[in-house]
Amino acid sequence: EAGVAQSPRYKIIEKRQSVAFWCNPISGHATLYWYQQILGQGPKLLIQFQNNGVVDDSQLPKDRFSAERLKGVDSTLKIQPAKLEDSAVYLCASSPLIEAFFGQGTRLTVV
């Protein structure tokens, strides 16, 4: 069974630039999550989708972050404009129930 695919693996951008991350979940998983993991901390949930609808985005900084899940499959997370404090690993996960299966993540460095 193929796992959660994310791209790119690494991204370096200057502050105030834009960036987008892509995620392809495990086939058949209705629930998709985006987490942000800052160095030395545990992952923090940004947004949860059920199929193509948003279930929870209460921790998403909506002034600069946006996410969509077209057709209930792939998802993109965008940051515009980026700030230095956005430097982190962005993890996508999908789930059939409670246990989430994570991708390898995208390491974003904002300079």
Partner: protein, 114 residues
């Protein structure tokens, strides 16, 4: 407010001995708990879980214990192997309308020495 806490940033254990990783939580609405393992440059991998209706769950060398009254859970690895060296995250789910939304601890770096 850190609702899930792993107070030990690191743990060092000799191969063959027991590793005990601890986790405390404050939210009494949490009713399902999970442990994840993370290797460098990889995403977290699900290890083992426990429902709040149980106090113990075992899977091979891994056992999770839950003490609801103390709001404490622990992961025991016996015997520890060098390949177990990784960062271990405790996570909790509140169920209900928060179903599937995991709150993670800060992680504990486990090093198993040969």
């Amino acid at each position: 407010d850190q609702q899930v806490k792993q107070n030990s940033p690191s743990l060092s254990v000799q191969e063959g001995r027991i590793s005990i990783l601890n986790c405390d939580y404050t939210n009494s609405m949490f009713d399902y708990f999970l442990w994840y393992k993370k290797y460098p440059a990889e995403g977290p991998t699900f290890l083992i879980s426990i429902s709040s209706i149980k106090d113990k769950n075992e899977d091979g060398r891994f056992t999770v214990f839950l003490n609801k009254s103390a709001k404490h859970l622990s992961l025991h690895i016996v015997p520890s192997q060098p390949g177990d060296s990784a960062v271990y995250f405790c996570a909790a789910d509140a169920g209900g309308t928060s179903y599937g939304r995991l709150t993670f601890g800060q992680g504990t770096i486990l090093t198993v020495h040969p």
